[in-house]
């Protein structure tokens, strides 16, 4: 099964979870998602997701000057983002549990 299709549905919650651990800029988020095992991630969609979440009021944003190279735009979670993450995570866990039951019955049958 192509994981990129699955990833599209849960990219929001994945990005929110990464940023909750620590504020990050676009490429930093990409790198951390990759490091966590999401190798197939479409990097452009991470940038698009960050922008959409920010405009939806889930993220805060600030610019940090870096020594080597240009300024970087960092994102952090605000309260709305944290609430959204908690909600999405609960939904995801319930979904996984349900899927596991479904798959177990399938293999038992």
């Amino acid at each position: 099964m192509d994981t990129t299709q699955l990833l599209k549905g849960v990219l929001d919650v994945a990005v929110l979870a990464v940023i909750e651990q620590e504020d990050g800029y676009g490429y930093d988020v990409v790198r951390r998602l990759r490091a966590a095992g999401l190798d197939d991630i479409a990097e452009a969609s991470v940038y698009g997701t960050l922008r959409r979440l920010f405009h939806s009021g889930l993220l805060t944003s600030y610019v940090v000057a870096s020594d080597a190279g240009p300024h970087r735009k960092y994102y952090g979670l605000n309260d709305v983002g944290r609430a959204q993450l908690a909600d999405s995570a609960a939904t995801w866990k319930q979904f996984v549990k349900t899927m596991n039951v479904v798959l177990t019955k399938e293999s038992a049958a």
Partner: protein, 328 residues
Amino acid sequence: MNDTMVLSNGTSSDEYQRRVASALAFLSAEDREEILAGVGEHLREVSVEGVDLVERLGTPEAYARELTTAAGLGQDGSSRRGLMPHNAWRRLNDHRWTRSVATFLPTLRPAWWVLRGYLAVVVLTMVFVSWPTILWLVPTTGQGPGELLAGILLLCLAIPLSISIGRRTLSTSARRAVVVVNTVLLVVSGYALVNVGAVVDNALHAYPNSGYIPTSGLRHNGDPIRNITVFDAEGNPLTDVRLFDQNGEPITVQSGVQLRFIQRSVDEFGVESRNTYPLVVVDRDGEPIPGKLISPVTTIPALKQPAATQDDQKAQASDKKKATEQKR
């Protein structure tokens, strides 16, 4: 394919970004600038790692599509521009004037709620009278102080009710019902107020202090005459006296009592006369009401010719003359 080859052979991040930018041309300048800033940062980071951009990120066009889809700015989405009819409609909606009107109109809603309560009272008065009276801006069924008070009380109920309905979030079916009621109120009350307008004008010009609506009929010092009592030379009350003006027209009064509660006077030919005084008030069964001038339903003689009346007067005059002559 060709593009990929070219790009693979050392395409700079500038070139890649330029093509992403042209693929984002459908976006507004503001959105595009903001997105390209992020793209620039991304491309620099990837370039530093020394990997081929197209191999890593796909073609610039695919990159742009991926990014805008994730950002909710997809080309079939809200930011699309074109010459299709719905875009003309959107442009109209986005116009400065349309927007200023659209933001201004909702601020008038409370004023409409108050007006709606007022119109409801106007329509309610029409249940009792065919045309409402507007007395000191209060819609009433008449000019009396009781009717005015009732009108004020109704306003005090209807306006807050209308406001509370306006402030409430309603279900779809309830909202539909409100729209129907609003339309009925506007049509009926609009019709009523156009008709009542002239009456109010007349009343204000004729009786600016009382708000009284003038009617035809007999008046004494401006007050309507409701009944006439007649006495003879000896001071005895007369009944069934018929009054006529200089033109021989019957003199009638606005009794303030409905006709069916006035005792009928019918002459020998069955013709009803309405100028027979004093008027007698009767109850629903036709019985005269005690305390009023009482007389039974009468059969009154047909009128004589006015010439005969003049002859009578002459005769009386000659009688008087004879009397004085006799005294001498």
